[in-house]
């Protein structure tokens, strides 16, 4: 318990002192996770909507596979992306391995199934309510999908925040494809792993507390958004 108190003090000192190294790590973590969620949403939202309203062969299979991929182990994704981006691999010529770009790619691969599966569920529920009216108004299926995505925007926003939380907490994939290079690809989670393995537990715990606080803030934002939207938009 003494070590916990020590860690808390260390954490507060780091934050209060605006330690530049810490700021660099936090900023990179945010950049990587935000970009990943953005790309994952750009791909996952249309895919989820298509699965919700579309009627095409293989739809059931894709849905099941997608739901399964929601729980993809991050180390597996990390390994696959590593093999893809390595110089010896198919995309090696771009020299992306051990760069933040590789981390964004890995996290995007990890989060897209989650975005698509959550979107599918949300849009499917909305479709059930709106289908007849939209058809009556003459909406084509693609048009209806877009309308539903916009209509469900607040629920989707919360889903996107969930994706961000998953990305920000992830360590296996970014460690492997980023290489945890000091000043280049070192993010909060990989720093925590590093400090723990160095035996510097107070510092690791301090960083952990900051990360948890960040995730909590994101969830609070989600909750507040939901409440505000309900009040103003119904």
């Amino acid at each position: 318990m003494g070590s916990f108190g020590e860690s808390l003090t260390t954490a507060l000192n780091l934050i209060g002192g605006a330690d530049p190294k810490l700021a660099e790590i936090v900023l990179l973590s945010l950049q990587v996770s935000l970009l990943s969620v953005l790309f994952a949403a750009l791909m996952g939202l249309p895919l989820g909507a298509a699965l919700a309203v579309g009627r095409f062969p293989g739809r059931q299979v894709i849905t099941v596979v997608l739901n399964g991929f929601m729980g993809l182990p991050s180390v597996v994704v990390g390994l696959l992306v590593y093999l893809l981006l390595s110089r010896a691999g198919p995309l090696g010529e771009y020299g992306l391995l051990f760069t933040p770009g590789a981390m964004v790619i890995a996290q995007t691969v990890l989060i897209t199934p989650l975005m698509a599966a959550l979107t599918r569920q949300i849009v499917e529920d909305a479709w059930r309510e709106y289908r007849e009216q939209l058809r009556s108004l003459g909406a084509t299926t693609p048009r209806a999908a877009l309308t539903l995505l916009w209509d469900a925007r607040f629920s989707l926003f919360v889903a996107v925040l969930a994706g961000f939380g998953r990305a920000a907490s992830e360590v296996g994939a970014v460690m492997m494809v980023g290489g945890n290079i000091d000043g280049v690809t070192r993010v909060m989670t990989t720093t925590i792993a590093l400090e723990t393995s160095k035996g510097d537990l107070p510092l690791a715990l301090a960083l952990g507390l900051i990360l948890v606080a960040l995730i909590l803030a994101v969830n609070a934002a989600a909750h507040v958004t939901r409440q505000w939207a309900l009040r103003h938009y119904g």
Binding site: L28, Q31, V32, L34, L35, L38, S86, R87, A88, G89, G92, E93, G95, L97, F98, T99, P100, G101, G179, N180, I181, D182, V184, L194, T196, S197, K198, G199, D200, L201, P202
Partner: protein, 283 residues
């Protein structure tokens, strides 16, 4: 909607530009090295000096020795800097490296619990100590091994050294190991963590030990045996195999690290006043 969309696009552009291309514009090389070397803090000390002199940023990817060499084989690094001479020479012989050069050595130490159940403390004979540890466990029961031993078991340079020493001590560790021998498959730090929490003996590199903060009741029990010396080598990844390798910049790094200036930088690195690495590049 148009304004919102424009703001969103601008934010994305800012995110991307803010994160990445600045780094891409620097001159840099990727050096594959080991976790123990990085965790010792050596790179934090010498690399800024190199960058100041040449303007080249060094990106160290810290892996186990086996993985570092493997990365280099795949062409994912420009230079390797590890401590397993046999594996390094094999690497060059296979054609993946240009030339292997000695850079420095550090030493391993045997670390153990203060109450020293195997009675090895203060000695300078590593093989003798290992024999005593094995003997102490041979007589104790499986449930409560008298002298547990933690092994890294991860094909690292440290792990390779440990296995060599068991062999030198005349012990076939594959046969002799029992519940007292904990094969953790982990890096140096985690292995030390495990040893600290289970009061076990462990072979460690001095650098990681000196920066290790979670010692519990562990202390150095055996050091100074010349067989504990750990030789580091540096190799340029062969551009013939991987044309994209930054051979000029990489060679600059190698030239610097074996030069008088680089060697002095290595010698100057201390933890708590103690020198960790001893430069020995041949002229």
């Amino acid at each position: 909607m148009n304004l919102k969309r424009r703001i969103l696009l601008a934010a994305c552009a800012a995110l991307w530009l803010g994160a990445f291309p600045v780094q891409a514009r620097d001159k840099f090389i990727v050096v594959a090295s080991t976790t123990s070397t990085e965790q010792s803090g050596l790179f934090g000390h010498i690399l800024p000096l190199f960058e100041q002199k040449t303007g080249i940023k060094v990106r160290v990817v810290a892996l186990g020795t086996g993985q570092a060499l493997d990365s280099a084989r795949r062409g994912d690094a420009d230079v390797v800097f590890v401590h397993d001479k046999a594996a390094e020479e094999k690497f060059v012989a296979e054609g993946f490296g240009v030339k292997r050069q000695d850079v420095m050595y550090n030493d391993f130490i045997l670390v153990g619990p203060k109450d020293d159940p195997a009675r090895v403390a203060g000695g300078r004979d590593i093989t003798g100590a290992l024999k005593k540890i094995e003997a102490a466990n041979a007589t104790s029961g499986a449930a409560a091994p008298r002298a547990p031993f933690v092994s890294r078991g991860d094909k690292s340079g440290t792990h390779a050294a440990e296995l060599r020493l068991w062999k030198l001590a005349g012990i076939d560790i594959e046969k002799a190991k029992g519940p007292w021998y904990k094969d953790t498959g982990s890096g140096m730090g985690p292995a030390l963590n495990t040893a600290a929490s289970t009061d076990a003996y462990v072979l460690a590199d001095r650098g990681t030990w000196l920066s290790f903060k979670n010692r519990a009741s562990l202390a150095i029990v055996v050091e100074g045996d010349t067989r504990l010396f750990n030789q580091y080598g540096v190799i340029l990844v062969n551009p013939a195999k991987h044309p994209h390798v930054k051979k000029e910049l990489g060679q600059q790094f190698i030239d610097w690290i074996v030069s008088a200036e680089g060697q002095k930088a290595i010698a100057d690195y201390r933890i708590g006043g103690e020198q960790l690495f001893f430069p020995n590049a041949t002229k």
